[in-house]
């Protein structure tokens, strides 16, 4: 591997494949390196792929990509131990083209997506770990891989190596993450008959449903659970800040079993069979944890640059857009023959002024806030459940009396003030 490329992209996930696809389409000579046996073999995602950002790269991909189901309903469950307050939205506009989002299985989808980049002319090499960036005169000029004579050179190296971006770290772009900057997610894919899925989730053929789980799904720790419908399987998972698991000494797979056996969830998955168990970290530090993402001859994209909007369970879409912007910047740099940090900074500026940067800034305090004040998850969600139960239980008590009781159950005047203040604060960090 001694030839020189215009660009080397490290990591064939949504960010890296998007970048390689756009570069190749623009006529650049691009090498896409993947450490796994095939693209997707190291990748984990609950499973929601957003149509818009994907279509920016492959128009009408939904006509040929291996997708599971277009999502027509999104539900949110605020769970207590034996109850849940549920709300959601279902709309038939999501059941037809151009669709809103889809459930996908990463290993299948990423292989297909990478094949599209290869069709455009990208060179994909699997089973190759990049050990370090080759730096000369303060400029990244290539990478050293774990293959014999494994040094490859390029004008630009794009780091799309995921949440554990040891490469960005070794360049000094960001410090090691702290346990409250990453969420550990575990999930299972459960095989279940197509017809049963459609009956249980009130779906017709080629329609999907996503359910996000809050509160008792994570035993009150900051995090969420999820239950998504695939074609003939369900994806169920739970993710909490690593710091929360450490603090409460909880085993992640036991938490997953707890969710699977929760009385609000169990009926959905009854009779299913586990096909695969997966664990992965999600970068959730947000805007404040983002390090440097551009240097001389190098750009960082996707999870490697902490691009996750935890509040809206978005990540792969941010990754794809970052990959596309990086590619466009590199094509400009190629024209100008200038691969300096100054030139490549166009990527960062575009990213930060578009929806990716705007959303990262909008929610910059959210993880920190909800982590610092656990009462949202361990007090207020149970309170909401209790209030709903009281209000809807017909037992001879008048509705006025019920309201009075619910009001008094909120606590003393001081406690009510605290509740009001917390609601205001929550509004402030997400508004």
């Amino acid at each position: 591997m001694s030839e020189k490329f215009d660009c080397i992209v490290v990591g064939a996930g949504p960010a890296g494949i998007s970048c390689a696809h756009e570069l190749a389409k623009g006529g650049a000579k691009v090498l896409l390196l993947e450490r796994g046996e095939y693209p997707g073999s190291k990748n984990v995602m609950g499973g929601v792929l957003y149509r818009k950002m994907m279509e920016d790269i492959v128009p009408e991909f939904y006509k040929e990509a291996p997708l599971e189901r277009p999502v027509v309903e999104q539900r949110f469950m605020m769970m207590d131990k034996e109850s849940a307050v549920t709300f959601g939205y279902k709309g038939m506009e999501w059941a037809k083209e151009p669709y809103n989002n889809f459930t996908v299985l990463r290993a299948k989808f990423d292989q297909w997506f990478a094949s599209k980049a290869v069709e455009q002319g990208a060179v994909l090499v699997n089973e190759t770990v990049v050990l370090e960036c080759i730096v000369e005169d303060g400029k990244v000029v290539g990478v050293k891989t774990d293959r014999p004579n494994g040094e490859v050179y390029a004008d630009v190296v794009v780091l799309a190596d995921g949440v554990n971006s040891l490469l960005a770290q070794s360049l000094g772009f960001h410090k090691e993450y702290q346990p409250d900057e990453v969420a550990l997610a575990t999930m299972e894919v459960l095989k279940l008959d197509k017809k049963i899925i459609e009956d249980r989730f009130n779906l017709e053929e080629n329609q999907g449903c996503t359910i996000e789980l809050f509160g008792d799904a994570t035993k009150g720790i900051l995090g969420t659970g999820f239950l998504y419908t695939n074609k003939d399987s369900l994806s169920i998972g739970v993710g909490t800040l690593l710091s929360g698991l450490i603090k409460h000494k909880i085993k992640p797979y036991e938490l997953l079993e707890y969710v699977k056996n929760h009385p609000m969830i169990r009926p959905y998955i009854q009779g299913s069979e586990s096909q695969e168990y997966l664990a992965h970290l999600i970068p959730e530090g947000g805007f404040k944890s983002m390090g440097k993402i551009v240097g001389n001859g190098v750009i960082v994209i996707g999870d490697a640059s902490q691009l996750v909007n935890a509040i809206h369970r978005e990540g792969s879409n941010l990754a794809m857009t970052s990959g596309r912007y990086a590619a466009e910047t590199i094509l400009l740099a190629k024209q100008a023959g200038d691969f300096s940090e100054n030139m490549l900074d166009t990527y960062r500026m575009r990213l930060m002024s578009g929806f990716v940067g705007q959303d990262m800034q909008k929610y910059k305090d959210s993880t920190h806030h909800f982590n610092k004040f656990p009462q949202y998850f361990d007090e207020y969600i149970p309170m909401l459940n209790k209030a709903a139960s009281q209000m809807f239980t017909v037992d001879g008590m008048s509705k006025w009396e019920k309201q009075k009781k619910i009001w008094s159950d909120l606590g003393t005047g001081k406690e009510k003030m605290k509740l009001a203040r917390d609601m205001y604060r929550a509004w402030k960090v997400i508004k």
């Binding site: 299948k108 770990v129 774990d146 554990n164 399987s233 069979e273 168990y277 664990a279 970290l281």
Partner: protein
């Protein structure tokens, strides 16, 4: 009663996953004495999602073959005592679905 029988314990969950283990470990405890003397909680044995860290009386056993390569141990070790690398190209965990 739930019909959800298979895949309950961590051993059963791990059995569902395909691994192509390298012959040598990509995970190393930097200083075994730290686990022994300064780390009463041995919290890695709790939060590792594959339960690959097991305390055996006087030493930490690292069953790297079942590692999901998530990175939690590197970040979560209170003593930064774990040297974490990626397994050799093409080795380690191989997800087939999710």
């Amino acid at each position: 009663m739930s019909e959800q029988k298979k895949g309950q314990s961590i051993e059963e969950k791990q059995y569902l996953v395909r691994f192509n283990a390298d012959t040598k470990s990509h995970l190393h405890v930097k200083d075994p004495d730290i686990c022994m003397t300064s780390c009463p909680d041995k919290i890695c044995t709790i939060f590792c999602p594959a339960e690959i860290y097991k305390w055996e009386d006087i030493r930490m056993h690292v069953g790297y073959e079942g590692c999901h390569e998530c990175g939690s141990c590197r970040i979560g070790c209170p003593h930064q005592n774990i040297k974490w690398e990626y397994p050799k190209g093409g080795h380690g965990i191989v997800f087939r679905l999710g």
